[in-house]
């Protein structure tokens, strides 16, 4: 049996979490959901997912703060998601470390699925 792809979704919007869960149904994937930065960080530590979908603007720890707290990604590929298109100048160091930045709403959700599939 192929190893399952572990996916961690950290987002405060219930529909987004639900959408990801539905998108990655099936045995191929194992989806972990977190509704805020802190829980997300904890899950990241424990489950060591293969990829992390991280929302930028959340109550409590925001996306950047989670990255900072985690420090070492432990081999996970990180995609940040946000409607936020503001000034990313001061986030340059993180932008370089992560693997992608998704604009919400997603243009084509299938592309995301393809990317995840391509991880393994």
């Amino acid at each position: 049996m192929k190893k399952q792809i572990k996916i961690l979704v950290i987002d405060d919007e219930p529909l987004i979490r639900r959408a990801f869960q539905k998108l990655f149904q099936g045995e191929k994937y194992q989806v972990f959901l977190a509704e805020d930065g802190l829980k997300g960080y904890q899950l990241w530590d424990v489950e060591k997912p293969d990829c992390v979908f991280l929302d930028v603007i959340m109550p409590g720890l925001n996306g950047w703060e989670v990255l900072e707290k985690k420090g070492d990604f432990c081999g996970a590929k990180v995609q940040m998601m946000s409607a936020y298109t503001g000034d990313l100048q001061d986030k340059k160091i993180w932008i370089e470390k992560i693997d992608g930045f998704l604009q919400k709403p997603f243009e084509d959700i299938m592309k995301i699925k393809s990317w995840v599939d391509g991880l393994k």
Partner: protein
């Protein structure tokens, strides 16, 4: 007759009578003794000898008695004589007294007369002095005053020359010119006039190259912060100079001093008044002094001068009645008044005392605050926009997320191939609705964002983003939309152009009745990207056509519009090198043209 001093004189008609001693102080009495029975004739004859006593022989009983008789009679006579003498004496005394009294009266009369003359002389001098004072009171300069006193002195022969001393300068005025001499040092050191004179005499004689008479120096009252000054009076006289001379000169010089003070005060007043005039006239803002009834009493150069008009609102406001919001109406200290296309802050000060019963007078100052008002409103608008911006950002996140969630989930649901057609369609509609909602938020954010950098954009894009924001307005009308300027790129601040488009569409909608057509077209015309917003309204009236781009001009009622929309829109267009203009008539409605220069044409 026989006589001896101590004997009684007897006319010897008888030898019988012996010698009897007599008081020698007077002649002895003459006793006539008549012998026998003399007849009266005989008596008369001998009585012509003037005897003291006439007796007959028969009478001469005792000559002693006779003598005593005579003696007593003689005593009586002597007493009488001494009384007479004393009376005479007293008479003499009285006469002397009378003469003395006469003399006194005479002297007194003389004295009164001379006194009268003196008085007349004094009165004459006083009259001359009063005339001099009157003359002094109308002189306008120090020079005139000094010449006047000198003439007076010469006329009355009180003195010969008058000098003015100012600090170390000695000035001599004559009818045609004045001579100035510099003294080597100040002569105000000593208080004693006498010694001063000697010192000055020598100096003066040297300077004038002539001998000088007696000099009297009088300091003049010091005016404000001037140097000390004084007057020197020169008196040349063959007679010795007395206290009276000095007093007289002093009196005149005192009057002079007062006159000079008056002149200096008048000059000082004149300068102050002139200064005030300069300030008043020089003020950049129009200033007017007006009555309660708006009559202009005095105004400065900046205030319009209109002949024949006297009321403030006639001249400044160019109206036939008081300006709306004039501070006079509400007795306010200041008020904003609109005049032509500007806004003024009219400040009002009371000039008269509140307690006075005269007509009240006020000072009005008209300060053009149009610029500041505009800046202020722009600032407020900016503030509003920025807070809206903050709200929008907040809202965006709150609304965006669920929308994004909806869209994502819908996409995923649509991936299911087992869907019934109707369900599939429903899901698609849900997705579209969510996308539309999301676009609105996006537009709103663009609209309120404070970007200061210029961006490359095009009119079509901007119109596209702006339309949804006004949907509630334009959906009552038929929309005729033809966008064809995408190939012309413009370098602008898109949200500002968006505001212009917003303003034009809003105005167009307000001009029309529902059901009419709102036409929005873009095109490239020459070097410009052009937007035409057209309405089918009744057009802009001729008489306001020239005013619609003026700031604060509005046809809307109070509170509805700031009147800044078109004015700012034009400014924005011009800021990017473009134009905003219109064509309008009653028949076909109004077309607004916005033209922005194209930087390059996209392929």
């Amino acid at each position: 007759m026989r006589f001896e001093s101590s004997l009684v004189w007897v006319i010897e008609l008888s030898d019988k009578i012996p010698l009897i001693p007599w008081d020698s102080s007077s002649r002895p009495p003459l006793v006539l003794v008549i012998r026998g029975n003399s007849t009266s004739v005989y008596i008369k004859a001998v009585s012509s000898l003037k005897p003291d006593v006439i007796m007959t022989e028969s009478d001469v009983v005792d000559i002693t008695t006779v003598i005593e008789n005579i003696q007593s009679q003689s005593l009586i006579r002597s007493k009488k004589r001494s009384r007479e003498r004393s009376i005479t004496q007293r008479n003499k005394e009285l006469q002397t007294l009378a003469r003395d009294l006469e003399k006194m009266v005479e002297e007194r009369t003389l004295w009164i007369e001379s006194s009268n003359r003196e008085q007349k002389e004094l009165i004459k001098m006083e009259r001359l002095f009063v005339q001099f004072l009157i003359e002094m009171s109308i002189k306008a300069s120090q020079e005139e005053v000094l010449l006047s006193i000198r003439d007076q002195f010469r006329k009355l022969q009180i003195a010969q020359e008058v000098f003015l001393l100012q600090g170390k300068k000695l000035i001599l005025f004559s009818k045609s010119d004045k001579q100035e001499f510099n003294l080597s040092d100040s002569i105000w050191n000593t208080q004693d006039v006498e010694s001063l004179s000697e010192n000055v005499s020598r100096k003066l004689a040297k300077i004038l190259a002539r001998p000088v008479g007696r000099l009297f120096v009088f300091p003049l009252p010091q005016f404000e912060s001037e140097t000390l000054s004084g007057v020197i009076v020169e008196k040349v006289s063959t007679k010795p100079i007395v206290e009276a001379d000095y007093s007289l000169i002093k009196k005149y010089v005192q009057a002079l001093g007062l006159s000079i003070q008056r002149i200096k005060l008048e000059e000082s007043n004149r300068i102050s008044a002139l200064r005030w005039e300069k300030v008043f006239d020089g003020a950049l803002d129009p200033v007017a002094i007006i009555t309660e009834n708006y009559d202009v009493i005095r105004s400065n150069k900046s205030f319009d001068q209109v002949s024949g008009k006297s009321k403030c609102y006639e001249i400044w406001g160019q109206l036939t009645q008081p300006c709306q919001d004039c501070p006079m109406i509400n007795s306010a200290a200041k008020s904003e008044v609109a005049k032509s296309d500007k806004i003024f802050q009219v400040m009002r000060n009371s000039v008269t005392n509140d307690q006075s019963t005269e007509q009240k007078i006020y000072l009005h100052r008209y300060v053009d605050v149009t610029e500041t008002r505009q800046a202020h409103i722009r600032f407020i608008q900016n503030e509003k926009l920025s807070s809206i911006g903050q709200i929008a950002e907040q809202m965006a996140h709150e609304i965006y997320n669920p929308l994004a969630g909806i869209i994502a989930l819908v996409q995923i649901l649509l991936m299911d191939s087992d869907l019934v057609d109707s369900t599939r369609q429903d899901l698609e509609e849900i997705g579209k609705a969510a996308v539309r909602a999301q676009k609105v938020i996006e537009n709103l954010q663009d609209f309120v964002r404070e970007e200061s950098d210029l961006t490359i954009s095009n009119l079509d894009e901007i119109v596209d983003k702006t339309l949804p924001l006004l949907k509630m307005k334009w959906r009552s009308y038929r929309l005729d939309l033809k966008l064809d300027s995408a190939r012309g790129l413009i370098k602008v601040q898109p949200q500002l152009i968006s505001q212009v488009v917003y303003n034009l569409i809003q105005n167009a909608c307000q001009a029309m009745a529902s059901g009419q057509t709102l036409s929005i077209r873009t095109n490239i015309v020459g070097q410009f990207a052009q937007l035409i917003v057209e309405d089918q309204g009744v057009g802009i009236p001729e008489n306001i056509k020239s005013s619609i781009f003026k700031p604060f001009f509005t046809t809307k009622s109070l509170g509805e519009g700031t009147g800044l929309g078109l004015s700012l829109s034009k400014q924005i267009a011009e800021r990017f090198g473009g134009k905003l203009f219109f064509k309008s008539n009653e028949a076909s409605g109004t077309q607004f043209f916005l033209e922005i220069p194209v930087i390059e044409k996209a392929n």
